[in-house]
Subunit: 334 residues, 2 copies
């Protein structure tokens, strides 16, 4: 590999002058700068970041420990956002995956520290509580799409309650009066928060208990989650006769579309449908296109990096939880 000294020799100056050019120090004679830049070009010199890192105190590296994030199709956007923001700020994101049978978070954190990461981001595949080991206190840490139920830690999560409130309000404002909510497994954080937002909106409209319904479409048996959307949806439509259905995620809506197609009910006309996730191409693929509340994963990823860089700079630890607003992608299903 080409070193700074070889460039210096080629350009006929001392290596320090080359260093100045590389680091944009203005105190270099234009003529020398030209020569040096030419030499750099010719030799294909690239500064050795490792050597630089040894001498300087900052590594410009941010660790990202992703708890099955890249296993889940939608939440990869967190990584994309984080990557993009890191690039903008001149930082390098070093990503480590954490799978079922894979290294512990502690091992991955050690890896981060060996690379002298200035801070560490811990991201989860879906909004959930995560108890991080104490070792995470040793450097700035930001949690994305998760939070520590015991310790106060800087966190970025989607505002699920606002999301449910907003979409329910929009349904009510459009005149829907009997809404059924096909919620996810009630144990998960998002389901709880969305239920709260849903009921909050209903209260504002003074909708009575008999005029709305909440059902779960996920059965958990032995830790395995199975989906029962079709049977639940059929029953709900038969017995409760809703004029609109809010789905816990796009895949629930997708199954619902099949049920409605089968029953001859036209989405957007005979019955309104709304959903959460706005996952990839699924909403546009459906006919009519599904209105869905987008989870702001990309923004969350960006926010996480912004936050960690702030923490590294200020040294002041602000441990508040950022709830990122979710936007409704309005289409034709209600």
């Amino acid at each position: 590999m080409v070193t700074i000294k070889q460039v210096a020799k080629r350009a006929g100056v001392s290596f320090k002058t080359v260093s100045r050019v590389v680091n944009n120090d203005p105190t270099v004679k234009a003529e020398n700068r030209e020569k040096i830049l030419a030499a750099i070009e010719e030799l294909g010199y690239q500064p050795n970041l490792a050597a630089r890192m040894v001498r300087k105190k900052n590594s410009d590296v941010i660790g990202f420990i992703s708890d099955e994030i890249s296993t889940t199709p939608s939440s990869v956007d967190i990584l994309r956002g984080a990557q993009d923001r890191a690039w903008e700020l001149g930082k390098t994101l070093m990503v480590f995956n954490l799978d079922h049978k894979k290294p512990t978070p502690i091992k991955l954190l050690e890896e981060c520290r060996q690379h002298r990461a200035e801070g560490v981001i811990y991201g989860a595949m879906y909004h959930q509580p995560v108890e991080l080991p104490e070792t995470f206190d040793k450097q700035p840490t930001v949690m994305v799409n998760c939070f520590d139920p015991n310790v106060e830690r800087a966190s970025i999560v989607p505002d699920d309650q606002q999301a449910a409130y907003d979409v329910t309000m929009q349904l009510l404002n459009k005149g829907y009066k009997r809404i059924a909510f096909l919620n996810l497994n009630p144990e998960i954080v998002a389901a709880k928060l969305r239920l709260a937002g849903f009921e909050q909106a209903l209260q504002e409209f003074n909708i009575e208990q008999s005029n709305y319904l909440v059902e779960t479409v996920e059965r958990v048996i032995d830790g395995h989650t199975s989906d029962v959307t079709r049977e639940v949806a059929e029953r709900v439509i038969e017995e409760f006769k809703p004029d609109a259905i809010l789905c816990g995620k796009d895949l629930v809506a997708l199954r619902l579309y099949f049920v409605l197609e089968h029953k001859g009910l036209r989405v957007g006309q005979d019955i309104g449908v709304a959903s959460f996730d706005d996952w990839d191409c699924i909403p546009q693929l459906l006919v009519p296109a599904l209105s869905s509340v987008a989870l702001p994963y990309y923004q969350m990823g960006r926010a996480a990096v912004s936050r960690i860089v702030e923490m590294v700079g200020d040294k002041q630890v602000s441990t508040h939880i950022d709830r990122v607003k979710c936007q409704i992608s309005s289409r034709e299903s209600f």
Copy 2:
């Protein structure tokens, strides 16, 4: 940060002895090893990889330039596979995303070289030709899910032709006699290869041209691809009356299911359906569950890292193209 010297002081030995312990050099007295390990534990010492890298010639870093890979839900599995394999081999994968309006591949390659990456993997979101700049010749390079149409370069791609051949053979063996193939945009590599595999199987069964049909379900207008599965499927079913339909991807099959539901045709009974991708939970979500040929993304990611590590070790450049076999996930749709 704790240095090796601080550990040495604590343990009452020279820093070189500590270095030996850290690097598993057996020539250290057991008693001293104990003391040193204890000191390391107490101080929370983590070796500085940057400093190590300055001294050693190998960085154990592999660069991964992902061309919109993480934008595409399925192909992230390439990254997962690469990460996993890298971890197994004691390497660190440094991932850089390449988006539409983002840094050029050349810039990202420079980044890799600044980190002294031992080799670079270039991954694409879907099987396609990619012309890499000449600068990629300067170090071991492996292409995943893509290939260079001009230069011979080590590449890992899915065996689309075999995939189509296998699934078509399976359809024919099960007794289907009039197969319609709803293929993707014929300009893309996968579509061409699959068509070849499809026809190869038909020939082996001596199926005449009048007894199979190939249609495109993607319209490209001004560079934008739009899907016309529904209208094409309706026409094909009406006019050609196939007993089985092979879909270019799961999302095409998904749309087809709606058409079939609408027409009252029962999948797996009145008509067989097969597909490519085996994308996430979509195949299982459909009723009956969709049989689909899985793209071996995870394996390809692993293979890419294995390959680059070999190249780094052997210095002998083998530029052949690895075609990774695709497995059929058999379910109930045919």
